[in-house]
């Protein structure tokens, strides 16, 4: 579903991977707390949101789900108001941008391209989201260059404006637009922390690993394994997270548990699946691995 920026044949500059989703079917998401209500409320008031939380706990999945869910709602409202007008897409456009340290402001906003004799302006993903009134999701925003904050700030206060310096334009965000950042605390490099002035433009929704039952449900669905096995995987995840203070930077993520489940579904023995998908992925420390091995052995035959 990811589409590259257009005109790729004529692109002479490096292009960044930008994902733009038009979701066809409802993403699978199981709410863990009140995050759906929170996000809906924030969205209805157009308050930008930061997702805080460790890796693999469903932040990306959640924003996909919300864009779908909100899109459905919006369309319905519009249909009632203006029955004549049809909207093709039944969900809010979602633009996901994985940030990295060479990502610059113009990568987000857009740039001119040469086309024969003419120059053509191509909107960057952020601009497109702003114009389309979709959700723009900047994943791991701390990784981006600091100059991106120049863009984020005016977009996230009452102005809701995107300055397009090159064109000397100020684009007002379409009504549906919302900026969502993801941010993984834990120890970030000191050079890369979010500035307070940035952080305080957002509300924060915290993501934590779901409780055992819910996680089992997710794992079972995603990996397509029976609920009993999924329960045990969730149990393992929970036990490993108990060791977070002991050298594990982060505990086992739901994503890893799903991987283990998938391996099992493909016929790998449970202990082995957990070893490669979970244990060896969460730590390189031998003694820790040994302990996790024992925990795995206690849970799986």
């Amino acid at each position: 579903m990811a589409t590259k920026t257009s005109n790729s044949t004529k692109t002479l500059y490096q292009s960044y991977v930008i994902e733009e989703y038009h979701l066809k079917k409802e993403p699978y998401y199981v709410p863990v707390g009140d995050e759906i209500q929170l996000f809906e409320a924030a969205y209805s008031q157009r308050i930008p949101v930061i997702f805080k939380g460790p890796t693999g706990v469903g932040k990306t999945r959640f924003v996909e789900y919300m864009s779908w869910k909100l899109g459905v709602n919006l369309t319905k409202v519009k249909k009632e108001e203006k029955p004549g007008e049809e909207r093709q897409q039944d969900n809010l456009p979602l633009v996901t941008i994985a940030c990295h340290e060479d990502l610059t402001a113009s990568d987000l906003v857009g740039r001119y391209l040469l086309e024969g004799d003419r120059t053509v302006w191509i909107d960057g993903p952020l601009t497109r989201a702003v114009k389309a009134g979709g959700i723009c999701y900047l994943d791991e925003v701390v990784e981006a260059r600091k100059d991106t904050t120049v863009l984020i700030h005016p977009l996230t206060d009452h102005r809701r404006m995107l300055p397009v310096e090159k064109k000397g334009e100020l684009i007002e965000a379409a009504d549906g637009f919302l900026l969502v950042l993801s941010y993984n605390p834990g120890y970030q490099s000191a050079l890369k922390d979010l500035k307070h002035s940035t952080r305080q433009r957002f509300v924060s929704i915290e993501f934590n690993p779901p409780p055992r039952e819910i996680e089992a449900q997710i794992v079972s669905h995603e990996a397509n394994i029976d609920i009993d096995m999924a329960m045990r995987l969730a149990q393992l995840g929970e036990k490993i997270r108990n060791l977070k203070e002991h050298g594990l930077g982060e505990g086992a993520s739901t994503r890893l548990l799903i991987y283990a489940g998938k391996l099992m579904a493909a016929g790998i023995k449970p202990r082995r699946a957990c070893q490669v998908a979970v244990n060896w992925s969460v730590t390189d420390d031998h003694s820790l691995q040994n302990s996790i091995e024992e925990v795995t052995a206690s849970i799986f035959e």
Binding site: Y13, Y112, Y187, S189, K239, I240, V295
Partner: protein, 1080 residues
């Protein structure tokens, strides 16, 4: 007697001192009985001849006459005459020996042949070399002959004398010492004394100087060796000597010390294994034997053989390696030993299992040796079975139950899982008021009913005690409760941890094997034993008293219903009520052999679900207390004994555990005001008196401990009362409520800071004074020695850090001039031209060194707690001074073995300092601005802030010398120190600022951090100080060195830069790693 001859002789005799004549006269009548006239004359003649030899020789005659009557009683007349002749000849030839010969004779000559007598005399003569010294030796010989001959045949004696003779050529003293020692040695040598004599003879030839040492050593060594192996031992000693072992006597002493630790009957086997080593490499023989006790502590003899073979193989290719192997000084040796040994030691598994337990429980569970808990003397007594007191899992020191290591490890794992299960599944979280889920509640009615009951007027300190109080026989109720609860935990573990359940079941089956037969017990005990066996999953039938078969069935039913994975601890209590009601009616009488019936119980899985109380339970319960009205004296009830402990479960003391937990909590919130809930001293005393779990121990009286002492120990344990021995330096920890007002900084180099009071939700203004001073200077050699000791690492680290520099080279674009043009910019410029806007001419790029602009302050905790030893193994002097006592020797041997691998005694602070030195080296390589400070203090007006290197100071020898002097000081007040560091960083202009704190996680100070609310105060303030720094654009990171989970900060720091180091030895590495990570 011929008169003429007689008078002649008489006359002659009279020429000597009168003693001669007197003795003669006394002896004569005895001899006349045996001797012919002629012989008699010869006898007197001999006496006269001897006496006439010299002026003093008459004395010899006196001796001769004196012993003659005794000798004639034990020798035939002819032999007597031979003896007389030998003696006379000897006395005439060597007057010096005469007395000794004659006076030694009586104890000796009995049954001796005449030739031997003559030979004996000449043996003595052989030793005599006409010198005074040799005379002494010879005399000693005569005197000792009787004793010697008790041990030796005459032939052996002869050889022994030739030995003495040879030794005497070197030294008379030595020879006579050997004689003395030999007298004590011969009885030890065993059958073949000849061997010992030849050994001695050989030794004289090859190394007479070792002789005495050898004798001394043998004297000590032989008794340690199995009697039957002593000859062999001596043979081996000789071999050792011949093979050129330098200090053979010492070696055999060492060998014997090792043998002493091994069962005597195994000596033969051991020597069998060891002997071939002599052919291969003589020193390996002794090293092997010396190490064998350690090896045998881990493995059986078969495996010892295997271990030896492995060493031999190595020895053949690599003699040094082989020797190290036998000394257990090589890792190959230890590894191999580890591989073949089946025993598992607590030490080796504690790391893995501790984290395992923490993972399972989700709590900061510690692991410790069971003996530690027993030593605390707070009610637990079994030093070698597992248990828990709610926060720590205690395990036995070693497990060697199975022949496979993996099985022994599994045992450890299963028992730990069980103990953690007690925590995870809430055994200690029993609430009296919490309804049970699988039984009808009876506890409330018990409470109502028993307002007039016997025990209920005793106030209960914990819920579980309150529960036990309702029972007349609290011991019985507690026993039932324990069994069911443990059974419930087992069921829960098996259900929740499917992976371990197989191993779990097999260990339960093993536990069943050692359960007593119910038929050996009295009725009530038998039913309780039934309960235990049910809880262990007994499938076979169990004998129960015929009369109580119905009761037994009822018990099984209740128990099964409770010991289910769906049950809670409250269900256990309900089951306890019911089973108690049954058992209290069963009198604990002996049951006749014929009155037993097997009870079979079919596995009825569904049985557990449709449980319902029998009719009339209520009535039974109501009458439960009253039945005690029956006078127990009129039945033949025996005293009831609790069931034998199940080994893998160990002691279960919910009552004590709940109390400890309550006390700990109380410690946390001590200042919380006049909490009605809090436990008073009286309550503690009450508790101790009432506790079932303590009463056993107190009644036994074996431990000789009083309930007061236990109460005292418990308070110490939870930190409500500090043990007398404080971690150095700190003042008496009497509670000082910090009153008073704002402070002024009146002196130079003092600074005042606010402090955050979380209760008030506000700052206490101008609350602390930080006194900044330079650290005193010590030697600068310390710095150098650390650099040297880390040699390689220092280089490595430097290189790593230097690599950081290119990492920060960034491509800089939009330059007027540079390495190359940037295609993006060119295009943009073209676009600009086309679209008519003014073109950007900066289209070059260059790799540019981005100026690293980092300033960092390291804040080092130098409080007293950092004096804690990391490792208790203080190195002993490495001389060979093995203790005599076998137990001590064992320990000593172990420590000697460990010396090679373990570091010597270090404190937390030492590692902090070492880490610091590494860091300085690294930072100097990249040129960041940095300052190093230590902090400590006592009280809010004395926060000491020591400058080791100021941020604007250059690194110098002075800094090195200051590092040397960093030492544990007083208490820790982190907040103000952080604030002061923050202000230092604030004044510096840098893009990245970092405050890095290294502490042991205990912000202790008077009025700042003791158990309870203060501790929270300290943690909150610390956290606040860090937040303040953050708000000022300073990044903070706390690295906590804490092996024992004393870290109080952790809880507050979840979203801060924060890390706990379990393994302190990783500190230097970790610190460098983090520094790099945080500043790039």
């Amino acid at each position: 007697m011929n008169n003429k001859r007689t008078t002649q002789l008489n006359k002659k005799l009279k020429t000597f001192p009168p003693d001669v004549k007197d003795e003669f006269t006394k002896a004569k009548p005895h001899l006349e009985e045996y001797l012919t006239q002629q012989q008699l004359y010869e006898w007197v003649d001999s006496g006269i001849k001897i006496a006439s030899q010299s002026n003093n020789a008459w004395d010899i005659s006196v001796n001769m006459f004196r012993v003659s009557p005794i000798i004639i009683g034990s020798l035939k007349p002819d032999d007597f005459m031979k003896w007389l002749e030998a003696g006379t000849n000897l006395a005439i030839k060597h007057p010096m020996l005469g007395t000794a010969f004659f006076s030694s004779s009586p104890s000796l000559v009995q049954g001796m042949s005449s030739t031997n007598i003559t030979d004996w005399a000449s043996l003595g003569a052989q030793l005599y070399k006409d010198t005074w010294k040799s005379g002494t030796l010879s005399n000693r010989f005569f005197e000792s002959s009787a004793d010697l001959l008790e041990q030796l045949s005459f032939e052996e004696l002869t050889r022994f004398v030739s030995f003495l003779d040879i030794v005497a050529k070197h030294s008379y003293d030595l020879s006579s010492e050997c004689l003395t020692l030999a007298l004590r040695l011969f009885p030890l040598v065993g059958e073949d004394k000849g061997r010992f004599i030849s050994l001695s003879l050989n030794l004289v030839e090859t190394g007479w100087r070792q002789l005495k040492a050898f004798y001394d050593a043998s004297l000590k060594a032989l008794p340690r060796v199995d009697r039957l192996q002593r000859k062999r031992f001596l043979d081996l000693s000789e071999r050792l000597h011949l093979e050129g072992i330098i200090n053979m006597p010492n070696t055999i002493l060492e060998i014997s010390q090792a043998l002493q630790l091994i069962e005597k009957r195994d000596h033969c086997k051991l020597l069998d294994i060891a002997e071939p080593l002599l052919d291969l490499h003589p020193s390996s023989f002794s090293e092997f034997i010396k190490s064998s006790p350690i090896v045998l502590a881990k493995v059986s003899f078969d495996k010892l053989d295997a271990w030896c073979e492995e060493g031999k193989t190595l020895l053949k290719t690599n003699p040094d390696g082989g020797m190290a192997f036998f000394k257990i000084e090589s890792s190959r040796s230890e590894k191999f030993l580890e591989e073949i040994s089946s025993a598992v030691e607590f030490q080796t598994i504690s790391n893995v299992i501790e984290l395992y337990c923490r993972a399972l429980a989700g709590e900061e569970i510690d692991l410790a040796d069971s003996r530690d808990l027993v030593e605390k003397n707070i009610g637990w007594v079994a030093a070698d079975s597992p248990t828990t007191e709610g926060s720590t899992v205690y395990l036995p020191e070693t497990v060697d139950r199975y022949s496979k290591k993996s099985e022994n490890f599994l045992w450890y794992k299963v028992v730990s899982t069980h103990q953690v299960g007690r925590m995870e599944f809430g055994s200690f979280r029993f609430r009296f008021d919490k309804p049970s889920t699988r039984f009808e509640n009876t506890r409330n009615s018990l409470e109502l009913k028993s307002t007039e009951g016997t025990n209920s007027n005793i106030s209960a300190t914990t819920d579980i005690q309150k529960f036990f109080n309702f029972f007349e026989d609290r011991q019985l109720s507690s026993d039932i409760f324990s069994v069911i609860e443990d059974g419930r935990v087992d069921a829960k573990v098996k259900d929740d941890y499917k992976g371990i359940s197989k191993g779990y079941v097999s260990i339960q089956l093993d536990a069943l094997k050692v359960r007593p037969n119910t038929q050996d017990l009295n009725a009530r005990e038998a039913l309780l034993e039934l309960l235990v066996q049910i809880s262990l999953g007994q499938k076979k039938s169990i004998s129960v008293p015929k009369n109580y078969k119905e009761e037994a069935l009822a018990i099984v039913k209740i128990a099964r219903h409770a010991m289910d994975s769906r049950s809670s601890v409250e269900d256990t209590s309900e089951a306890t009520v019911r089973i108690y009601a049954i058992l209290i009616e069963v009198s604990n009488e002996t049951v006749d052999e014929d009155d037993w019936d097997p009870l079979d119980f079919e596995e009825d899985e569904s049985e557990g679900d449709n449980f319902s109380d029998p009719e009339g339970l209520k009535e039974t319960l109501d009458s439960m207390g009253n039945s005690a009205g029956d006078d127990p004296a009129d039945t033949q009830e025996d005293k009831y004994n609790s069931p034998q402990e199940v080994d893998y479960r160990g002691e279960f003391k919910p009552e004590l555990t709940q109390l400890l937990e309550k006390l700990r909590e109380q410690g946390q919130y001590k200042d919380g005001g006049n909490d009605t809930d809090s436990i008073t001293q009286e309550m503690m005393d009450q508790f101790a008196k009432n506790s079932v779990e303590l009463s056993q121990e107190l009644n036994d009286g074996a431990s000789g401990i009083t309930s007061d002492e236990i109460v005292e120990n418990m308070l110490k344990e939870v930190g409500l009362k500090k043990p007398e021995s404080l971690e150095g330096g700190q003042g008496p920890l009497v509670h000082v409520d910090e009153t008073g007002g704002e402070l002024e900084s009146d002196e130079p180099e003092t600074f005042v800071y606010d402090e955050w009071d979380f209760r008030a939700g506000d700052y206490k203004p101008r609350w602390c004074i930080v006194r900044q001073k330079y650290m005193a200077e010590g030697e600068d050699s310390y710095y150098g020695s650390i650099v040297q000791s880390y040699g390689n690492l220092i280089l490595q680290v430097r290189r790593q850090f230097e690599l950081l520099v290119p990492e920060t080279m960034r491509k800089e674009r939009r330059l007027q001039d540079g390495e190359d043009i940037d295609i993006d910019d060119v295009i943009e410029t073209m676009i600009d031209i086309k679209s008519g806007s003014s073109p950007n001419e900066k289209m070059y790029w260059r790799r540019n060194k981005v100026h690293r602009d980092v300033a960092v302050v390291f804040l080092l905790d130098t409080s007293a707690s950092t004096a804690e030893a990391i490792d208790d193994s203080k190195s002993n002097s490495d001389q060979w001074n093995a203790p005599e006592d076998p137990v001590e020797y064992m320990l000593w041997l172990r420590s000697r073995r460990g010396e090679g691998t373990k570091r010597t005694y270090k404190r937390i602070i030492d590692l902090e300092k070492e880490a610091l030195i590494l860091l300085i080296n690294a930072i100097e390589a990249i040129g960041d601005t940095y300052g190093i400070y230590g902090f400590s203090g006592y009280g809010r007006e004395n926060v000491e802030f020591y400058t080791i290197k100021d941020v604007d100071e250059l690194f110098s020898d002075r800094v090195k010398r200051r590092i040397d002097r960093i030492a544990p000081l007083h208490a820790t007040r982190m907040g103000p120190a952080i604030r002061h560091s923050t202000s230092k960083l604030e004044s510096i202009d840098a893009r990245t600022k970092l405050l890095f704190m290294i502490s042991d996680g205990r912000p202790q100070d008077r009025g700042y951090s003791r158990e309870g609310v203060e501790k929270e105060y300290a943690v909150h303030d610390t956290r606040m100080a860090l937040d303040e720094a953050k708000n000022k654009g300073i990044n903070t990171f706390c690295l906590t060195v804490d092996r024992n989970g004393h870290d109080y900060l952790k809880t507050m720091m979840s979203d801060m830069g924060y890390e706990v180091l379990d393994d302190i030895y990783t500190l230097p590495h970790r610190l460098l790693y983090l520094y790099r990570k945080l500043t790039t």
